[in-house]
Symmetry: C2
Subunit: 337 residues, 2 copies
């Protein structure tokens, strides 16, 4: 293994000079820089990140905390997009990632977790999906031992930022678009349109926002709104729709999966009503062809979260970052393994 010392010797300079060149310190003459770079090339030198971390006490390591329970295949897509986005960005910024699933923390208390993260020498973390039930993670965050970025959890602090779309507005937008797009199917005569809103989970941090968006639209358009909680379950959404969807004009769901469930139920009921979802997962284009949905760009959200945690690691203070959302009509997609 070729070390910084070898480079220094080869270039005829001191070790620290090599280090300075590597880190773009000012006050290094062009000539020296060239010599060092030449030596690096010739020797195929690669800095040892372990030694650098030990010495600087800064690892540039970011922990990615997520909770992909086994058997939730439909949304593995979301986790993968988060992961790919985060890892791509982390690599571009020359940082390191440690992927941690909640399940790996099951037997630890908060102190254990903090110690674990410290033993990993992380210098910040991102939490990708957390519900109010994840008390340990919540505690971890509130300890503020590390800079933290939360996706879709509206907490901001000195060393804590949040990142996500504007769920209130997004829900408003997609519901409105669904009504507009399907205006020809909607009754003109029986007074206010009747909308069934299948919300997520009372414990989710975004449910309140989305519901608020739906309520705002209902008020503006004078809709007759019914709210039910589907817990992001396809089956519950199906059952809710079977029980309460037949006479609605529109069914708005807080996730694509529930939208699929609702659509399946309507098919069973042998009626058609417009349904919309929230997420933009491929499965929706596959199963429920041509439905509107909010398109969350999970890849981009993850990248944004990484940039944000880097900001915090550099001493900046926490903030709320809103990532844009778009609306799409999911079409049939070929899926390739």
């Amino acid at each position: 293994m070729v070390s910084i010392r070898d480079v220094a010797e080869r270039a005829g300079v001191a070790i620290s000079t090599v280090s300075k060149v590597l880190h773009h310190y000012p006050n290094i003459s062009e000539a020296t820089q060239e010599k060092v770079h030449a030596a690096i090339k010739e020797l195929n030198y690669v800095p040892n990140s372990i030694a650098a971390a030990l010495s600087s006490k800064k690892s540039g390591r970011i922990a990615l905390l997520m909770d992909p329970k086994r058997q939730t295949a439909a949304i593995d897509q979301v986790f993968m997009q988060y992961l790919i986005g985060a890892l791509d960005c982390i690599k571009e910024l020359d940082l390191e990632a440690v992927t941690i699933f909640f399940s790996m923390l099951d037997n630890m208390d908060v102190d254990d977790i903090i110690r674990y993260l410290m033993s990993l020498n992380i210098s910040g973390f991102i939490v990708f999906n957390m519900s109010r039930e994840d008390k340990k993670i919540r505690d971890l965050i509130e300890r503020e031992e590390f800079p933290a970025v939360l996706v879709d959890v509206p907490l901001v602090g000195e060393k804590m930022s949040c990142v996500g779309i504007d769920h209130e507005q997004a829900q408003y937008d997609v519901a409105q678009k669904t009504i507009v797009d399907n205006i020809q199917y909607l009754p003109e005569d029986h007074g206010p349109q009747s909308v069934l809103y299948i919300a997520g989970n009372g414990n989710g941090y975004v449910t309140a926002d989305r519901t608020k968006g739906m309520r705002r639209l209902a008020q503006e358009l004078n809709l007759n709104l019914t709210v039910r909680y589907g817990d992001y379950s396809e089956k519950k959404a199906r059952d809710i729709t079977l029980a309460a969807g037949k006479d609605r004009d529109v069914i708005v769901c807080a996730s694509d999966l529930m939208a699929i469930g609702a659509m399946n139920a309507l098919r069973d009921l042998d009626v058609f009503h417009p349904v919309c979802g929230f997420d933009g997962i491929t499965l929706m284009g596959y199963v429920g062809k041509q439905m509107n949905t909010v398109q969350q760009d999970f890849y981009q959200i993850a990248r944004t979260a990484v940039l944000e945690v880097k900001r915090l690691m550099e001493g900046e203070s926490g903030q709320k970052v809103v990532v844009p959302h778009t609306l799409v009509r999911m079409e049939y997609l070929d899926i390739i393994r």
Copy 2:
């Protein structure tokens, strides 16, 4: 941060003694061990893995190489199962993981990649899905710079193992079961049964094995076998089935996704023939209810791969590890986000 020095002082012993206790060296008196452990508990000491790695020159870090291209939602499930399995096992063994996607390596040549992995101080890696087209990865493997475990790629070397199910036998099994299970739908009268086999991709390492299994069964049962290549594409499998599936008695597919495509095509053709798949992904239970498939336990495969790379890291030599497969009939599953 509490270091080994603090523990040593607290326990009234030398630093090296603490280290020895931690690593279960022989020749440490019971009394000393107890003192040290007590001090560790009291101080909540956690060893600094970075320093340990630097000092020992062994990082215990395993790189997980996989290729989840964007927009392949249906099989994100597979990647997630691989990831969860690998990370769980790595944590249990007190190792570290570095997740690397092929896409992150796009702009590097093999030497760059090797240097990159060295800069990460990894001491071994696992490749989770590689086709013959991934030439750079293949080169990386053949350099044998690190212990490597290949999933579903039948290469073995001194520092290289492979892990996976027996694809030949699995394909044989599931095709046979499909025929047996559906014997009542099959004709008794028109001579050998006619089977359409939709294979994967000529470039995949497993395609030959699976096709071999299918051919063996065909020979034994005197089947009339036609082989087509669907490239693991739902759409291609659909097209193949539309073109050549109508008069078959059974359609056997080398992946669940293609099985779904085949089933969709049969539905369009308005005929029924038994179809079977390969993988056991949830989507199949969701879309193509009640179809047989090989069930690969990707979680377990990943765990096995981790154990195997650990073996290699400890100096053992490479081998071929066969993980059991099972057959299942996929049923409708509720999907939860």
